[in-house]
């Protein structure tokens, strides 16, 4: 339709879209330039959720863009001429609202696509978990644009757009601030913007994003009604979809886990060696690390065999469950998507041997973990363990001497105790 085409080119839509995409790209690639891109480029869900963090800026701007668009008739003095035409107000509002929505959604998707280029190069875990996260983000921009248009039509002052931008920003800052003192729960989960990044093994609880989508749809419909009603008195009807959305959403978030996130079972699922040798497993999110881990892991298993009840497999884990005595664990923090294990060769063997094949446990005793690794590897300092001269290095040297001064069976006994203590750890590091 030619009017929609015209509005796509001439309304506030293109400017709002370009601004949204530019800010989104700037947000993503500032982190790349400052070498912090692992906050979003490690996995699809991370990119999608990082975009949702940026909504704290993008959402208020979309609100302001809508209000600016709504002022067009007054700004250009078109209202009188338009009022003498037969086209009803609601019908007239459609192409303008559609153009703004199309541009905002497009901008959001372009930002995602620009990030996707990097994610595709680094992630080991292709999955569709990002789809709802992106969809809710895009919907939130549409809701902001339409709500802004509605409010702008109701209050057609030149001050409305800037005030809406500031008010929207402050409103979205509230949950961000609250999340610093406690995990957000209940209605505090409803704002579209996220306060913290996810990690590779966590995703947004689907019921929480569903609740957000319902609230946002209510806001969008309410905003659209404000744009479309013929008379200002009829504007109260816009409250109905907003209240309806909240009524559906609040019970949903009340039953949601704290923080609104849940483990991503697909990401933590194990991928294991199948060649018949001692079993080595990594998480699906780090599947590409399996090949480079297998060799060092099997070497670590032969070294661990010095201990009684020696483990027979190596597993990369994210924590949160008791460790069986038959497994040696390597925490997933030792892997960086796109880059691989933090060390290779013997240094990686030593990382597996840390704490005699147990995960770090709060409070983390690095000295003891390092001693166990060095003893098992049979070299002090073990590869990758060298410390700068200082108090800790001196203390560790002294502890090593004390350990080596013991008779051999007692040394073995001491290391076995370290492993046993590590196995009883209950928390994540």
């Amino acid at each position: 339709m030619s009017v929609l085409r015209t509005e796509l080119r001439r309304s506030t839509g293109p400017a709002a879209g370009v601004l949204t995409a530019a800010l989104g790209l700037a947000g993503l690639y500032t982190l790349v330039m400052s070498d912090q891109s692992e906050l979003w480029d490690a996995q699809w869900t991370l990119l999608a959720s990082f975009q949702r963090i940026m909504l704290v800026v993008l959402w208020p701007l979309a609100l302001g863009a809508g209000a600016w668009q709504a002022r067009r008739d007054r700004r250009t003095n078109m209202a009188e001429l338009a009022a003498t035409t037969p086209r009803p107000v609601w019908r007239r509002a459609l192409p303008t609202s559609a153009a703004l929505a199309i541009w905002l959604v497009l901008a959001y998707l372009v930002t995602f696509a620009a990030g996707a280029v990097r994610v595709a190069g680094s992630t080991d875990y292709p999955n569709a978990g990002w789809v709802p996260i992106v969809a809710v983000g895009a919907l939130s921009l549409v809701a902001a644009g339409w709500l802004g248009m509605g409010i702008g039509r109701l209050l057609p002052s030149a001050h409305t757009p800037p005030i809406l931008v500031i008010a929207g920003f402050l409103a979205l800052l509230v949950p961000v601030q609250l999340s610093k003192s406690a995990e957000p729960s209940g209605a505090a989960l409803l704002p579209p913007n996220l306060s913290t990044t996810l990690d590779e093994f966590t995703t947004i609880a689907s019921r929480v994003d569903l609740a957000r989508a319902v609230v946002l749809a209510g806001l969008a419909v309410g905003g659209l009604l404000l744009v479309m009603v013929a008379r200002r008195k009829a504007a109260v009807i816009a409250i109905v979809p907003v209240v309806l959305g909240l009524a559906v959403a609040v019970p949903l978030v009340n039953a949601a886990p704290a923080g609104g996130v849940q483990a991503d079972p697909g990401a933590v699922a194990e991928v294991c060696t199948t060649d018949g040798g001692p079993e080595v497993c990594v998480t699906t999110a780090h599947a590409k690390g399996l090949a480079s881990l297998t060799g060092p892991a099997r070497k670590a298993l032969t070294l661990l065999a010095k201990l009684p009840n020696a483990p027979t497999s190596v597993r990369e884990v994210t924590g949160e469950r008791p460790q069986p005595a038959g497994e040696a664990w390597l925490h997933s923090d030792n892997y960086q998507p796109g880059r691989g294990w933090l060390d290779s060769g013997d240094a990686l063997v030593v990382r597996i041997l840390a704490g005699a094949g147990t995960r770090p446990c709060d409070p983390i005793d690095y000295r003891t973990r390092a001693l166990a690794a060095a003893w098992l590897f049979g070299q002090y300092p073990a590869p990758g363990q060298r410390l700068r001269p200082g108090e800790e290095a001196a203390g560790r040297d002294a502890a090593w001497q004390t350990l080596r001064a013991l008779p051999e069976p007692q040394q073995r006994q001491r290391i076995a105790e370290i492993r046993t203590a590590g196995l009883t750890c209950h928390g994540d590091s």
């Binding site: 339709m1 030619s2 009017v3 015209t6 001439r10 067009r72 008739d73 250009t76 003095n77 078109m78 209202a79 009188e80 001429l81 338009a82 009022a83 003498t84 035409t85 037969p86 086209r87 009803p88 007239r92």
Partner: protein
């Protein structure tokens, strides 16, 4: 250029007058700017003359359905405006150029006229042809794809005329359409007016009395919200004498009629 003639255009009208007002009262703010006006307008070009504040713009805005009459009756294209009038059908047949012509500056001329055609609910397949034709009629064909904000004052006025006539209106209301036009453009505009007057009822408000003399079939002279005189330009000219103020017969007729009316009113 050959244009398809729709059946509705050939159908006989079922009303006697395009515009019929009896004792019409229209408020402009708190002032009763049109106060007891009787008016009959049919086919042709009607020049609306009168001093500043005579109620010309208020009358036109009432005919354009911007303002609701405060009293009297107003019948437009056979449709009497009641308490809750259904204006949609009438507005499809209306063309209006407001005195203070508002437009979207980022639209091109073509996009803007297209947009107005859409607002006037023209059948989509007629729009591109009608838009091109009207843009050519007002002499903006070479600027059709330029943004509205790049147009000069006279060009804007012509774009305003183009949007008003794009739907071949039966009632065309032009408030000060010749402001900003240069002499050549005014001559062309008069020709256009005469063409339009053959198909529809055109009401042109202006201060330029010679435009009226040259292009109008009929003159409506108002003062203080009331009708002073309605007649042909020749009749207006005949009303003036050698000692009336004015540079040409119709101007002398204008001042004479106005002066006589004011003398009686006092």
């Amino acid at each position: 250029m050959v244009r398809k003639v729709a059946a509705t255009e050939l159908a006989p009208t079922t009303y006697g007058w395009h515009v019929q007002a009896d004792g019409l009262q229209v408020r402009a703010g708190r002032r009763m700017a049109v106060d007891g006006l009787d008016l009959r307008l049919g086919l042709g070009v009607h020049g609306l003359l009168g001093p500043n504040g005579a109620g010309k713009t208020t009358l036109i805005r009432a005919l354009a359905t911007v303002l609701r009459p405060a009293g009297g009756t107003l019948t437009l294209l056979g449709e009497q405006l009641g308490a809750r009038p259904d204006l949609r059908a009438f507005r499809r047949r209306l063309g209006y150029l407001p005195q203070d012509f508002g437009f979207y500056p980022r639209f091109t001329v073509r996009e803007f006229v297209e947009y107005m055609a859409w607002l006037k609910e023209m059948p989509p397949r007629d729009v591109p042809g009608a838009v091109q034709r009207t843009i050519e009629q007002v002499g903006l064909a070479d600027r059709a794809d330029d943004r509205m904000k790049t147009l000069s004052g006279g060009m804007l006025r012509r774009a305003g005329i183009a949007q008003a006539i794009v739907n071949d209106p039966d009632l065309l209301l032009l408030d000060e359409p010749t402001v900003g036009l240069d002499p050549t453009q005014r001559l062309e505009f008069r020709t256009l007016l005469r063409e339009l007057g053959e198909q529809s009822c055109v009401l042109v408000s202006t201060h330029l009395v010679e435009d009226v003399a040259a292009a109008c079939t009929n003159v409506v002279l108002v003062d203080e919200g009331r009708m002073v005189y309605q007649g042909t330009p020749a009749e207006v000219a005949a009303a003036g004498g050698a000692d009336d103020v004015g540079d040409n017969p119709i101007e002398r007729g204008y001042t004479a009629l106005l002066g006589r009316h004011r003398a009686v009113a006092r």
